[in-house]
Symmetry: C2
Subunit: 359 residues, 2 copies
């Protein structure tokens, strides 16, 4: 006897298969909602999920490194939903006309293992990274922060800019990139945003006087994007680009003089800016601040660092937003990623023409 399925997501899966949202339709979804609304909704989900941190089965991501890049799997689960993201990082890809970072992922039902939702996550990763950055800055940056330096003006920079404008009230951007064409692209893409934008001749010039410094560079090496003499009291540093072993952006002395916040300590010790520090280097997990278990910024002059590497839970939060929004807008299609068998104990029978197959 078949049991009735009460979970509506699972009922739709049983009836029609996995909901698939490809890159084209994800872009359509974001166009219809607007980047700001998407980032805001994802930040809301991340906040809610970080507030119930203990509910999640967490693991550091599983990385396969090669000479030219990395491919990672990032799983996480609570009692109801499981998600994973596939994501690569290959700085040389743009020479081939490919993105440095490409991603996709799945939201599944813990009770049955059913893959409910398959989605592109390249665009979604940019949205959720910006959402996470802005959420952290809402909590950690000085109130009234208005000026942000944005170092690294590549594929993620527009999302960071808009997230900080809409979630934090940033009104002025100071840009720097080693490639002037990248900054020109960013300026062009932000036309009509209302942000006041200055393109600077160096990182130091961009950082000078900023309330918040966001670094989002892509080189796979230990770079020194920010050095101690650039840092002013009270700055909040949003370090996004350093996110795997051998890839960092900040001079170690900056970390020593600052209060450092991370997403998930076991992963950040391997991948974050703090990878060069000892195991006793003090960090605070961001969820602890949200829950009031630990303090955030301790004063107006303190330098705060959000050493962001990207954690699976943020993708979980983003996948739930993309799924719900795709459903409500009628975007995406149902696919048979796994077979829907009339008799699940008879996989072989699903091949039909049995005699011929067995012969």
């Amino acid at each position: 006897m078949k049991t009735t399925v009460h979970n509506p997501d699972l009922a739709r899966f049983v009836e029609a298969g996995t909901l698939y949202l490809g890159a084209t339709e994800a872009a359509e979804l974001v166009r219809r909602q607007g980047v700001a609304r998407c980032v805001e909704a994802i930040a809301h989900n991340i906040h809610a999920d970080f507030m119930r941190w203990a509910d999640f089965d967490k693991t550091a991501r599983v990385a396969a490194h090669s000479d030219v890049g990395v491919i990672e799997l990032m799983p996480v689960a609570d009692a109801q939903r499981y998600s994973f993201k596939y994501v690569n990082g290959h700085p040389g890809n743009t020479r081939l006309g490919l993105s440095t970072v490409m991603a996709f992922g799945v939201l599944a039902d813990v009770a049955t293992g059913a893959p409910l939702f398959l989605s592109e996550l390249t665009l979604t990763t940019a949205l959720r990274t910006a959402a996470m950055s802005a959420l952290a800055a809402q909590v950690l940056a000085r109130p009234g922060s208005r000026v942000m330096a944005l170092i690294g003006n590549g594929a993620q920079s527009e999302f960071q800019a808009l997230a900080f404008q809409h979630l934090l009230g940033i009104t002025e951007l100071r840009l720097y990139d080693v490639d002037p064409a990248a900054s020109a692209k960013l300026v062009a893409n932000l036309q009509g945003s209302g942000l006041r934008i200055t393109v600077c001749a160096s990182t130091a010039e961009a950082v000078k006087g900023a309330d918040i410094v966001t670094t989002v560079t892509a080189d796979k090496r230990n770079a020194l994007i920010l050095t101690p003499e650039m840092i002013e009291p009270g700055m909040h540093l949003n370090a996004v680009g350093g996110d795997c072993p051998g890839k960092t952006e900040l001079h170690g002395d900056i970390l020593d003089a600052a209060k450092v916040f991370v997403e998930y300590e076991p992963q950040s010790r391997i991948e974050g800016e703090i990878q060069h520090k000892g195991a006793d280097f003090a960090v605070t997990e961001f969820w602890q601040v949200l829950l009031g278990e630990r303090s955030g910024r301790d004063g107006a002059d303190q330098v705060t660092v959000f050493d962001s590497v990207g954690f699976a839970l943020e993708d979980f939060s983003a996948l739930r937003f993309m799924q719900q929004t795709a459903e409500s807008l009628g975007l995406g299609e149902r696919i048979a990623l796994v077979p829907q068998l009339s008799d699940p104990k008879n996989l072989f029978g699903s091949l039909r023409a049995t005699a011929a197959v067995a012969a």
Copy 2:
């Protein structure tokens, strides 16, 4: 300047996106080729890949356990290709009309991280598990083995039966399942196969006189499917169903008296029949026998056990077969799992209607 892409798989990806083979088209592929030819070709790939064992970056799978089942990710890579499989195990699923095991996976390009091929792997897992079992038995069972007991007659049993018929020369099957309907289904599905089949009243009756005993039961618990008094000298035991912590099929004394072979020791110590044994319990990795580094069966009276849990490399081998066959038969479709950007540094620009999006 764009670099020319020389890898043909990658060139097709750049041109047209990820090749997607859904469950319906995978079934069509297997129907056209026949189960026996598919299993044979996959066994050939597994053999070739196991012969170059050292070329692979291997990790034990990453499992998320719940009270009712498990969801796993199984990644593996060589210098050219990366693959992972998503697979669940939920014995209660059939009550909901869902399969106990559902799977899908991806074959990607190590040099760029591009997801070249997305495929259903539910049917494919059944094929590759049977291929691995038969390949191991070719090497480990006594020459001239003709009679196989098949304990557990669920979704995987037909594939095991046909693999052993075609790759080993098994002519007679002796079946047992706690559910007589499962055995009846298996008998019906194997009509026309040429196998001589007897349905038995107990495991002991089925096992008596068999050359090979295959156990492929699905309960998530430590069951005692085989007990020492059933085992005869020279038998080869193909233990497929015990494949996660707390789920085993063989009495421990059987292992003590036999020579035990595994796929990948670090994973099998956690998931295999040997999970109840100490870290010093001797096992041989199967690739070592293939390469001649270690002996296989040491005599006609020795009991050999292939303690199979399913290793990511087998899925890698199977994914390559499915990709090549789908390409050559023109099955599957190209999808935009990740965006194909005209300018990969301008993800935001791909949203078009820029002003509206930024506003």
